[in-house]
Symmetry: C2
């Protein structure tokens, strides 16, 4: 008999929080009771969850009493409240970057390294959206041919910066169409009909934190610090779903046919690669889906053991909420809740 669980979603009113609530319902997650928590600004707001209406409570340490699974949607709140949730017996699945690189915290993509959940000490980190999307197809290729180097350029949707960022793109787009002036608020510059090669803050080394996440998180998830990666991350005027142009060098040479064969069988991957039929991944068709779409698979003429891929996936779903809920499903299946 299925056991039902006490669940909390922290940051429930944001883009990722809303998506987690939606996916818990879609997947018939065994929820006994659910608490929706957020900052004091959203306290008292009402949120639909199936046929019931939930009232948003303020996220504070005492709120975690009795909670078994706490989904943290991300943001600075995690650093303070994840330890409070764990202290009260919950397992925290955290979408913030606060704990991802801590050696004691598993960083998990269920299709890639599900076994890492076994050693959790109360916190399991959900990787960054662009990392999740990348590692799902990288993993089976790494297993088959040992990846040596990855050069990735991203094309990231505005919803990765939250719901206000979507509103900003839509507002600015209207303003540009009507010839009105644009006042950037969320993004540093106009994003409508523009590109911004700047996601998160820049470090001393010239890389943005988003770019460094792609490097460090991918190495941790694939358990391979020798796997070399470089990244350029770019915000594009797309509402939903991130895309990535990926160049991969392997130890062992792979033909495009072999790569296709590997990816067709890979969990969580859909190969869309039929050029005469104009079939290739695009944000428009990846949105509201849980898979990572991979196409444009071809040999790289500039290197004997390299090839190119083009991928797209819904970064709010597989890149965040779906991945978090999948982690919780593994915890239940493997009986790893407290």
């Amino acid at each position: 008999m299925a056991k039902y669980h006490q669940v909390a979603v922290i940051g429930a009113t944001g883009a990722v929080g809303q998506e987690i609530l939606k996916i818990l319902q879609e997947r018939n997650f065994p929820v006994a009771d659910i608490k929706v928590l957020a900052s004091s600004r959203s306290e008292g707001k009402k949120i639909k969850f199936g046929s019931t209406e939930l009232v948003v409570e303020r996220a504070k340490p005492e709120a975690f009493k009795g909670i078994e699974i706490a989904f943290f949607a991300g943001g600075p709140v995690s650093k303070e409240l994840v330890p409070e949730a764990v202290k009260r017996g919950a397992v925290a699945i955290d979408n913030s970057s606060a704990f991802r690189l801590e050696p004691s915290v598993p960083l998990v993509v269920p299709e890639v390294n599900p076994e890492d959940v076994e050693n959790h000490q109360g916190v399991i980190a959900n990787p960054n959206c662009s990392t999740i999307i990348l590692v799902v197809p990288l993993k089976p290729i790494h297993d088959a041919a040992q990846i040596k180097r990855v050069v990735v350029s991203t094309y990231q949707a505005v919803s990765g910066a939250g719901r206000e960022a979507v509103d900003e793109l839509l507002l600015q787009t209207k303003q540009v169409l009507q010839g009105e002036p644009v006042q950037p608020q969320i993004f540093p510059y106009q994003i409508a009909f523009n590109l911004i090669p700047h996601i998160d803050t820049f470090g001393e080394n010239g890389y943005s934190r988003e770019e460094m996440k792609l490097l460090l998180e991918t190495q941790k998830i694939l358990h391979d610090t020798k796997l070399k990666i470089t990244a350029t991350t770019v915000r594009v005027p797309v509402i939903r779903s991130h895309s990535e142009s990926v160049n991969i060098e392997t130890e062992k040479k792979l033909t495009p046919e072999k790569i296709r064969e590997i990816l067709v069988q890979a969990p969580g991957v859909v190969v869309q690669d039929d050029l005469p039929a104009l079939q290739y991944p695009m944000p428009l068709f990846a949105s509201y889906r849980d898979e990572v779409f991979v196409g444009r698979i071809r040999n790289d003429y500039s290197h004997d053991r390299a090839f190119n891929l083009w991928i797209a996936a819904d970064q709010l779903r597989k890149g965040a909420a779906t991945n978090a809920v999948q982690i919780a499903e593994i915890l239940i299946k493997r009986d790893l809740l407290n």
Copy 2:
């Protein structure tokens, strides 16, 4: 005393043709008389050129009588009419891809290989827009450190597909904002708030013609068939100016400081690379400019002798019209007209 010339612009009503007319005026090109030619569809249309009004004539062989410089804006007309213009004594500067890879035809970017005009036999080819934008910063780096390999991912504006493509993006954007259905005409799929990893037609090898142009044209312009390149080209919902994420491997190691020093001195390049001041290239600021903007210069942690760049440039100006007019200026300066 400056000599004035008989000029024709073929495809004068299109996006690139219009831009050529604008740039001829801006740069005070020594025009004695100018003919504007186009398909029969545009015959009789009136076009402003400074204080005069020009009437569009149908592009046909006899129209080139007496013409010294014929700017072909691009498209299938070139294949038929470039030889006719040359036969009648004109030098043709051709923006189509028809003659670019012919060994007897110089393929010229004035900041990179101006000397190649010397050997022209009547036709000088203007490279593809994404190639021009790339080779301007590549050239000084190649001279300093011998480039071995380039991995490039493009972010290409819709105006690269002509004026109707811009109209399509604007119309679709309005339709999406109003919740109306979208009917793609120019692009194979909706481009508003989407990305399409498909520019020009696909070949048997899985590469698009746009991607192959980046390979083959760059090698020809830099006179180096050992320089290896791979490309993924993507259409983005930006009206104007192409961007490129570029990973460059050199024979000799370069520091970011040295690369900056090289690029600051490079003709046609503007370095925009001050991260604390949020300074980096973007289509929004590259548009209506003639320079190639380069930034996000940083070491690549995945390779000892590689680094990353992010570039943006107005592909209708430097990527097409400005480059064509610059070629004509060299022809005049070097006395290479017939």
